[in-house]
């Protein structure tokens, strides 16, 4: 049998960790977009990811639309779900406190999950990988082509959002809502529209995460909750509301999981990641890049 040097192994852990981390990061970015405008933690964020995968399966595999067409159709469908979530679950609440809004998103996530179970059934689905399944071997480190897509989409999302928030009027208006909703209203920004937009945007990003993840890990109706929790952890670790924080948090979480699964007792890998998360919070109560002053405290 061939020997397998330690360095190679370590690099393999890093590659795997970064890929899984990139998915977490995308979910975390979705959390942040909504949080920044509304201060809500949208616990249905994971369901967007699940829907992204399953809608893509229907559109691409069942209906047979080519990849390039199926991709925008899927994102559009899930975005629509995000819009509906805001219109049907969030906006009707008359006296919104953070706690009731969170419960509303929990309820929404239960409904979405239940409907997905009725539509797609309980079995897992696969998608063909975007550019084949032949692994790339770089000096003994194996990279699936799909890994590159995942990381590529994370970069694309990050660049896209930076441009959106810094260069467009709409993006700047959303930023203004995040900083101070009342002032934003005074200068004529329709805060309701911004809330709607934030749900649409984060649903779209969730969908992208889901449809790139499915060729690696399959997808079924029951996946959302776990992804939401990992993404929430990433957002908190990086600091709620901070986009660089979300990416950093996601990647760190993925790396810890991968490294501890590879080098320590793998049954405890999730525990190691969470212990480090707790340790960070006890030292920095607002996450790595979060700002306690900015994170205004609302009542529950």
């Amino acid at each position: 049998m061939e020997t397998f040097p330690f360095l190679n192994q370590l690099l393999q852990f890093l590659v795997t960790g970064l890929t899984v981390g990139a998915i977490y990061a995308m979910v975390a970015i979705g959390f942040n977009i909504i949080y920044n405008v509304t201060e809500i933690i949208n616990l249905a964020q994971g369901e967007f990811v699940m829907l992204g995968g399953l809608v893509m399966v229907s559109v691409h595999t069942s209906l047979g639309l080519p990849l390039l067409l199926a991709f925008p159709v899927t994102v559009l469908v899930v975005t629509l779900v995000g819009v509906l979530l805001d219109r049907l679950a969030i906006r009707p609440i008359r006296k919104p406190s953070v706690m009731t809004l969170i419960i509303a998103t929990v309820a929404a996530s239960i409904i979405i999950k239940g409907l997905a179970m009725i539509i797609w059934g309980k079995s897992p689905y696969d998608l063909p990988a975007f550019s084949g399944r032949t692994p790339i071997d770089i000096g003994g480190v194996i990279i699936q082509p799909q890994y590159l897509w995942v990381i590529g989409f994370l970069v694309a999302v990050a660049v896209g959002l930076t441009l959106f928030f810094n260069r467009t009027i709409l993006g700047k208006a959303m930023g203004a809502c995040a900083d101070n909703p009342d002032a934003a209203r005074l200068v004529g920004i329709n805060v309701r529209h911004m809330v709607l937009l934030s749900f649409a945007l984060s649903a779209a990003i969730g969908a992208v995460a889901g449809l790139t993840l499915t060729p690696i890990a399959l997808m079924d109706y029951d996946r959302g909750a776990m992804l939401a929790i990992k993404g929430f952890g990433a957002a908190i670790l990086g600091g709620l509301g901070s986009f660089p924080g979300a990416i950093l948090g996601g990647l760190i979480l993925g790396l810890i999981e991968s490294l501890s699964a590879g080098m320590l007792a793998s049954g405890y890998k999730d525990a190691y990641a969470l212990i480090i998360l707790l340790a960070v919070l006890f030292i920095r109560p607002s996450g790595i890049l979060g700002n306690l002053e900015v994170t205004r405290f609302k009542r529950f």
Partner: protein, 317 residues
């Protein structure tokens, strides 16, 4: 909200007292006392949690862990070390208190969503320990052979008998908590909820109060866990996972966050919904559950316990 009236309390107590008798007369609901045992177990947890969330304003997404600590301490000590069940229950509550202080002291300094994540993480970690330490806990398969409870040689071996034990404890805890709310401690808690800065300025030791309430709620959850373990004669880690923590929050939200009554009503409603009624919707069960939760959140933000007052107000108008 502040005054707890005597009349509904008496009516509630009477209802609880005669419920098994009524249920036994109606074949269709003859198994309801069995469900009520679990509802009572949940109510013990939600009373503490409502004190923590509704009165002190601190969120916890990790209370399933304390529920589990109580259950596992009881399970392990009675099956593997032959400890008396009641003593084990006490030790379980003690263990939960120690863990609650250790985790609560640093966590409760965190705010809002950060506190939510910290308690969530704590809950998941404890659940992983239940799952991985198979030598003591039996691993993911669970632990079998936990004995029932006896009082002076009298076995509480049926739903009817256990019902009175559980609801007797719920009643005692309820009275204690009501008194606590109306005491200076209760006022201090509400002050913390209203404004931490103001209450700190008034000289209330915020941090200490938060940890005390957190610990109190953890002890109640552990007690509930022990009762659960001895009734089921079986425990497994999945019962104490983070989805149960979220279910507890749902109970509080459905019942009404700012009243102890709400905690009990929420526990009963969710127990019956999830364990019995929604069964009839089959495939649509999950969707209906979510829809009920959403409708209550939208139309009754004060929870079901706020509904009578709302109705009265509307009638007066």
């Amino acid at each position: 909200m502040l005054r707890i009236r005597k009349a509904p309390m008496l009516a509630g107590a009477l209802l609880i007292l005669v419920f098994p008798w009524i249920a036994s007369r109606v074949p269709a609901i003859s198994h309801y006392p069995d469900l009520m045992v679990f509802a009572g177990v949940y109510a013990l947890i939600t009373i503490g949690l409502s004190l923590l969330m509704g009165y002190a304003g601190q969120i916890s997404l990790g209370h399933a862990a304390f529920f589990g600590i109580g259950a596992y301490v009881s399970g392990v000590l009675t099956t593997q070390y032959g400890v008396n069940a009641w003593l084990a229950m006490l030790l379980g509550a003690l263990a939960a208190a120690v863990v609650a202080v250790a985790i609560g002291a640093p966590s409760l300094k965190l705010r809002g969503h950060y506190l939510a994540m910290a308690t969530l993480a704590f809950g998941i970690i404890i659940n992983i320990v239940f799952r991985e330490e198979a030598r003591w806990t039996g691993g993911p398969d669970g632990m079998v052979g936990i004995s029932g409870l006896t009082v002076f040689g009298y076995a509480l071996d049926s739903a009817g008998k256990y019902y009175y034990l559980v609801w007797g404890i719920v009643a005692a805890v309820f009275l204690f908590t009501v008194n606590l709310i109306q005491s200076p401690t209760g006022r201090a808690l509400r002050a913390i909820h209203a404004s931490e800065a103001a209450s700190a300025a008034m000289g209330i030791p915020i941090a200490r109060y938060k940890v005390i309430v957190f610990t109190f709620s953890a002890v109640l959850a552990a007690l509930a866990g022990s009762l659960y373990a001895h009734y089921m004669n079986f425990i497994n880690p999945a019962t104490f996972d983070l989805f149960f923590s979220i279910k507890l929050i749902i109970m509080i939200a459905l019942g009404g966050m700012h009243s102890i009554w709400g905690a009990i009503i929420g526990a009963i409603i969710v127990a019956f919904l999830s364990l019995e009624w929604l069964h009839y919707f089959e495939e649509f069960e999950i969707v209906v559950y979510g829809a009920v939760l959403l409708l209550v959140t939208i139309f009754l933000p004060e929870g079901l316990s706020g509904a009578p007052a709302k109705l009265m107000a509307r009638m007066r108008r």
